[in-house]
């Protein structure tokens, strides 16, 4: 295994968990603000949802 491959392999492992966690949190934020249909949330985020292209009502 070359030094560069070893470096990339180490980088890949240490990067995976934080990236997956951040992806999940980011997706959760977009999902709550953009797609959840609870009435209060829908009303508060109404204009944002329309203007950002989410399916709204």
């Amino acid at each position: 295994m070359s030094a560069r491959t070893a470096q990339i392999s180490a980088g890949r492992q240490s990067a995976l968990l934080p990236a997956v966690l951040a992806l999940a949190i980011g997706f959760g934020m977009v999902f709550v603000a953009g797609l959840v249909q609870a009435e209060t949330l829908h009303d508060a985020a109404h204009d944002t949802r329309h203007a950002t292209g989410f399916p709204c009502h």
Binding site: A15, G26, G53
Partner: protein
Amino acid sequence: MFSRILTSGLIAGAAAGLIAALLQLYFVQPVLLHAELYESGQLIHFGAEAVSAHPETGAIDWTRDLLSVLFTMLVYAGYGLMLVALMSLAEGNGHEVTARQGLIWGLAGYVTMQLAPAFGLAPEVPGVAAADVQLRAFWWLGTALATGVALWLIAFGRNWAAWGAAIILILAPHLIGAPQPDAFEGTVPPELSAEFAGRALGTGLMAWTLLGLFSAWLWQRAGQTQAAPAHA
């Protein structure tokens, strides 16, 4: 690593989100308020008399607009976190992510989260006919996911198997087709609907290119600060 992703993504997202919100308030919100006059029946398209294209849409509603700013910032902060998380994965795989390349990352994010879903479900002004919202949300999410994976395969795939899969993933949601309404019963003039879709996509493009730029720049900057030796 996690705190580097979190701070870069959230700050870039909040900044791009604030700009997106201001652009939306100026360019998109007037069209939305205009359309709501038709949605509520205050104006009637193709009624007995022709309707002015420049009606009074009422005073600024500060609570409503402030909520829109907050939620747009929340959406973009979420986009920012996802974008920086993917940048960190690309870097872990040996690909450099510079601020200039951030522009391309932003464009790819825009295609994933706005343009590809809009190809089947155009940004929808209040008062138009549409299919069931759950079905549309499901198609929307599937399209964004398939397009995002496809663009990753195009950028980082190394052979035709990856690129071929990317082509299939990009086309599949549109070949299947987005859920459409059974009948066209919208009350809003098509002129407003078209203007709204153009404006929503345009402001999205501006905000997403900035999001890509900010994300990559902050991600690099945070990396340099972390890598620099501590001064005693």
